[in-house]
Symmetry: C2
Subunit: 221 residues, 2 copies
Amino acid sequence: MQQILCTVDVVLLTLQDDMLKVALLRRDREPFKGVAALPGGFIRQQDDADTRDAALRVLRDKTAIEPPYLEQLATFSGPARDPRGWSVSVVYYALVPFDVIDSAGHPDVKLVGVDKPVGLPFDHRLIIDTAVARLRSKSQYSSLPCYLAGETFTLPQLQRVYEALMGEALNKVSFRRKMTEMDMLEPVEGAFSAGGAHRPAQLYRLKPELRDRLTLIERGL
Amino acid sequence: MQQILCTVDVVLLTLQDDMLKVALLRRDREPFKGVAALPGGFIRQQDDADTRDAALRVLRDKTAIEPPYLEQLATFSGPARDPRGWSVSVVYYALVPFDVIDSAGHPDVKLVGVDKPVGLPFDHRLIIDTAVARLRSKSQYSSLPCYLAGETFTLPQLQRVYEALMGEALNKVSFRRKMTEMDMLEPVEGAFSAGGAHRPAQLYRLKPELRDRLTLIERGL
DNA sequence: GCAATAGTGTCTTTCAGACAATATGCA
DNA sequence: TGCATATTGTCTGAAAGACACTATTGC
């Protein structure tokens, strides 16, 4: 009997112009050669310490991106999702500020609005929808959106990120209160946003000790 | 090169005497033959429509239980977790009222407090801890605990379930308000708890349309 | 000064917990 | 009646949203 195919796929998400986008790559081999799809590949026993490691390797090889945030989403499986046979795909999702993708400058990576792509191969449509749902749900009560906001950001910028993800306007005073009591940001001393013909805003960054772990909040935004 | 081992494991959780317990089985084959472990097994391409299906099959075969609630937990992987080689285990967790396990009456199934078991094989200790953390976290803002409470239950009973899971006393009035506004329970007309030398309580059941899906709440309990 | 956006003070509404009163079964 | 627990009413404090006011920049 043929073996089960073991793969990983990555849903790389970013925010461009307040729109949630997913990174797609044209497949360079069969099946679905030439079709835009999620970055993915086979697990390599000799190279990968686990599936997370495999996801990082795939991302590094295909997009040259080291994501600041990567989390396991779920595992998708079955006899029909891959025409080559019964397959298991362990899927991770990554959050990356747009400028990281931009500066990585990988020409093959295409950013597409998460609701846009049709005709995706495998069950990638389902996978993307699952990732977006997870991100939206988790954004309500965690610091997750900060990973989409870049290295430093102002509170109004961060609020727009949250609003873009959750699809609704947030109360400015409440938002700032929340951010204060979550106690996960620190001001970048003396650094302010520049450019507009208006009052500059204080720049903040994630507290260093929180770079790699989420902060959860009690009551949502 | 040797193939990747593809397995499923199930964390079957129940509440017995207000204690969260996990179902363990003595392994009937190597590796770790005779050692108590989570029910699990290889994915069978010819039998299983997906990993969820495989988890249900394993549970049915080894414990004769059809769980009312089964959700994918996460996938655990790596070269060292199974002595036979690089392995991937897609893990599900199931919630079952104690009397379902009791009446299934499978003699091999042992219920053990979730913090108890030491010397578990593979990474089953980590898996159980992950499942318990997920259950506790999700219980705060969903109807999940209802699946541990049995077919019908009184509100005070359900509150004790929530309290056992979350490890803290809950405000009675607030709890009842939440249950009312979650709108997921319906009273069993004319049915009341009996037995005690005191006022009987109204029996409730999950609304039929919610049997198979969770209700989420906005703000926690 | 004016336009535009940042940041804050305060009032009002909404929600959760405390407390207590009432309800209902059994001995 | 008295006890134990269920159920409900009401008060109070905390949290969230609405609104408006002040602050700071470029023009």
